[in-house]
């Protein structure tokens, strides 16, 4: 059974690159453009991993994460946060919200895949 990954990023090109890499490795991918969009797309579905950007319109990554973690269904879902070097101060806030893995943008798809596979195998 393919593992399902939710990718939340407002940049459609990042979603595309990430999506191609993950699908190629055998994961099922759900894409969302911001926190709100992601919440509605999750709607109770089983998610094995969340990859989320921090800065997004409508609902930013950290607010989104806090919302997600309120749902017992996603209490234990691992989260990889994508951050830019400049957003380092967000890391602690994100950690408290439940994001334990971080990846600094920009990254090459293999680097992302490495990070993903350490957490969830396809």
């Amino acid at each position: 059974m393919a593992k399902r990954i939710l990718v939340v990023d407002d940049s459609s090109s990042i979603r595309q690159v990430v999506g191609i890499a993950l699908r190629g490795a055998g994961y099922e991918v759900i894409e969302a453009g911001d926190g709100k969009d992601a919440l509605s797309k999750m709607s109770g579905e089983k998610i094995h991993l969340i990859i989320s950007d921090v800065n997004m319109p409508n609902m930013d990554g950290i607010t989104f994460l806090k919302q997600v973690k309120l749902n017992p269904k996603y209490k234990f879902t691992p989260v990889i946060m994508l951050t830019t070097e400049a957003g380092r101060d967000k890391v602690n806030e994100g950690r408290d919200a439940g994001a334990k893995a971080w990846l600094v943008k920009p990254f090459q798809p293999p680097k992302l895949l490495d990070a993903v596979e350490k957490l969830v195998l396809p």
């Binding site: 691992p78 990070a115 350490k118 957490l119």
Partner: protein
């Protein structure tokens, strides 16, 4: 199976093995000749096929991977080299042993040992080929051909691992990408077997034997996300230790390196392990600073304790470090020339700041990156230039051996000098200036501190007294300690004397520390009869002045009958500091960054000024404060409406104070330009600096200002106390 068929199989296989050996030997002569490669492949292929038909699975299991390797060789995936041929010969020998088992009729009793041996042999090749595909690794893995021994990875997961979204099995699976997992030992000891077991808590720990040619850092990176959730130990295979030893042997140091750097550079420890060990050492430094009887644990010992590195590797590294120190060729350079260089670097720092300013002003974003790079380089040059003038303090310490010997003889005392931390380095200009105060302090200890052997015996102490000189680095400073196990300071005598001299009011309440601090006041000697060596305590005030002139600090602590400890804190260099720039009205000031504890933004509710008692209350902590505009009597601009002030909390030694400023500008590098003779007596300022914009900013004398702030509020406090009385 009938005996005839068995015999056929054996004969055929032996023939095949013979032809394989012949081809291998030919291959040594002509590695490129495809015919020999094909022949070897065919031999293995045939043996495997026949063994399969006869159901000799143990032969198939071994022959199959060998055949695969040969197939890959045919495709050009592996090079035909000495290693490959040697390995194939070993495989041929092993196959022969397996077949002998068949001819002996033992095919149903193949020992586990034999099978393990085969697996080991296969692993030997995969270990080798991995190391060859990765060019970066080739060098560090030379000599690791026989990486048959395994890495031992211990993982002890913490309770919250699952809750944090981590699945230990995922990491172990991922580990398979780096090599061959030989064995996993799952430790279930900690899993409770009754009601209290919380299934969402992780109780698991694992020991994994991994055959891999990956480096320690690569293995550790598998666990990068759980470094906080898991205690990880990665112990290299024995063979890997030999690799480290070899690397150490051949390592060529262009410049002296620290122990940690050496071990990281050869891959024996990872950055994370070094960071953790250094943190542990910092902790031990803190303890040692508070209690000089505790020794600072050397980094090497911490690393051994944590099993980060093996003892032979550590010893070798220490050895090499020492050797390189001795080998390091040195040249003598005129100190003035060095000084000149450092001045120029200072100018460079300023010019670079100016460039940065211009780039920002004109919004030249594409230039910013280049400027940032130049800035990094300039910083490196600055650090390197300053390092040129760094000398270990050990030499200065050693000079006191003679002093201690001569003086103790003259006074009829028996005193042992113990020197520790002599390798701590600081700027030569500082070393030169610290010699005099240090001499004074040592002589004081010898003369007033340590008692005669007879007196000591009466007090139940060993006849021989001990004087300890110690040095250590602590966050951008060097700390020098002079400790003796003598009579200690007599607080009451100091009080009497100070009252007699009018230094304090009779009956004034003073803490022990404040009382001891009085010995640095002019004209205070506690010894009734002054000796000709350290005089009448004159000197202690001079000592203090000298040290303060170096932007340093001196503290004394003592316990009657036990001894005295003098602690000196000094900056590592006098030329350049990292500063924090603030603004008061239109003026700019620089505070040495190492003294800044924290900054609290304007209009924050976290702090509150009490103008009447001259104290600021920051989250419940009360400290004296100074308003820079008031202190420097700057005409304040017309400020409309709300005052927008910020608080900078500074610390020197144990004292804290707050500076109230109008603006926080942030960090910058500052080259200290001494003020001219004219301003020599200016209080509250130690120097000036030219900013990138050409403006001049004054560098604040934090220590002096703290003292002023404290005394200001202290006198007020006394006044109010008196008023209440």
């Amino acid at each position: 199976m009938n005996d005839e068929a068995r015999q056929t199989f054996i004969n055929e296989s032996e023939e095949m093995l013979q032809s394989m050996e012949d081809s291998l030997l030919q291959m040594e002569q002509e590695p490129e000749n495809a015919e020999y490669i094909n022949s070897v492949f065919r031999s293995m292929h045939t043996i495997k096929g026949a063994a399969g038909i006869f159901g000799f699975d143990f032969i198939v299991d071994f022959a199959h991977p060998v055949e695969t390797v040969m197939d890959e060789v045919r495709d050009g995936a592996h090079q035909v080299d000495e290693f490959l041929i040697a390995w194939l010969l070993k495989c041929k020998d092993h196959t022969e042993v397996l077949i002998h088992n068949v001819s002996a009729g033992d095919e149903n009793n193949i020992s586990q040992e034999l099978i393990n041996e085969g697996e080991k042999l296969i692993a030997e090749f995969s270990g080798h080929s991995l190391s060859n595909t990765d060019d970066n690794q080739t060098k560090s893995n030379t000599g690791a051909h026989g990486a048959v021994e395994s890495w031992v990875i211990s993982l002890d997961f913490k309770k919250d691992t699952f809750r944090n979204g981590f699945d230990p099995l995922s990491f172990i699976r991922y580990l398979e990408k780096l090599g061959d997992i030989r064995e996993v030992i799952t430790d279930l000891e900690d899993v409770p077997f009754a009601e209290e077991m919380d299934p969402e808590s992780c109780y698991l720990s694992f020991k994994i034997l991994l055959n891999s040619s990956a480096s320690k850092a690569e293995i550790e990176s598998v666990f990068e996300f759980v470094l906080d959730d898991c205690d990880i130990q990665i112990i290299p295979p024995k063979t890997q230790n030999d690799v480290y030893l070899n690397l150490l042997e051949t390592l060529d140091y262009e410049q002296e390196k620290r122990l940690g750097e050496i071990l990281v550079s050869i891959g024996a420890i990872t950055d994370f392990e070094l960071k953790k060990a250094l943190a542990a050492q910092d902790h031990s430094i803190d303890q040692a600073t508070a209690d000089p009887t505790k020794a600072i644990e050397p980094l090497g010992e911490i690393l051994i304790e944590k099993d980060s590195v093996s003892k032979p590797v550590l010893e070798k590294a220490l050895d090499r470090q020492k050797q390189s120190r001795e080998e390091n060729k040195s040249i003598r350079v005129d100190a003035n020339r060095l000084g000149q260089l450092i001045n120029l670097v200072g100018e460079l720092v300023i010019s670079n700041a100016a460039v940065k300013l211009m780039v920002e002003k004109h919004g030249l974003y594409d230039v910013q990156e280049v400027v940032a790079e130049v800035e990094n380089l300039v910083e490196d040059i600055r650090d390197n230039a300053l390092e040129l003038r760094m000398v270990p303090i050990g030499e200065t310490f050693s000079r006191f051996r003679r002093v201690v010997r001569d003086v103790s003889r003259e006074l009829g005392k028996d005193i042992d000098l113990v020197i520790t931390g002599g390798e701590a380095e600081l700027d030569k200009t500082v070393v030169e200036k610290i010699n005099d105060p240090l001499t004074h302090l040592v002589r004081n200890s010898l003369d007033h501190g340590i008692e005669t052997p007879e007196e000591r015996e009466l007090k139940g102490k060993p006849r021989q007294g001990t004087l300890t000189l110690n040095a250590l680095h602590d966050s951008g400073h060097i700390v020098i300690q002079i400790a003796d196990d003598g009579a200690g300071l007599d607080a009451e005598k100091i009080r009497t004397k100070a009252e007699a001299n009018g230094l304090i009011q009779p009956g004034q309440q003073l803490s022990k520390r404040e009382l001891f601090r009085l010995i640095f006041e002019p004209g205070l000697s506690t010894k009734q009869q002054a000796s000709n060596l350290s005089g009448r305590g004159v000197g202690m005030d001079v000592v203090k002045r000298n040290i303060e002139a170096l932007r340093g600090n001196v503290e004394v602590d003592s316990e009657p009958g036990k001894g005295t400890l003098v602690t000196i804190q000094l900056p590592l260099t006098l030329a350049i500091i990292d500063g924090f720039m603030v603004g008061a009205s239109r003026e700019r000031y620089v505070i040495p960054l190492s003294m800044v504890e924290e900054c609290v933004e304007m209009d924050s509710k976290e702090w509150e000024l009490s103008e009447t008692s001259h104290y600021v209350n920051l989250r419940g902590e009360v400290m004296p404060y100074l308003r820079l505009t008031e202190f420097f009597s700057i005409p304040t601009e017309k400020r409309l409406g709300v005052k927008r002030e910020s608080l900078v909390v500074v610390r020197f030694g144990r004292n804290k104070a707050g500076f109230v400023v109008d603006e926080l500008y942030g960090e910058l590098q500052t080259v200290i330009k001494p003020l001219g003779k004219l301003f020599e007596n200016l209080t509250g300022v130690t120097g000036a600096t030219v900013l990138g914009s050409g403006e001049v900013a004054l560098i604040l004398d934090v220590q002096g200002l703290i003292a002023l702030a404290s005394s200001g509020s202290a006198s007020k406090k006394i006044a109010t106390d008196l008023a209440e009385a």
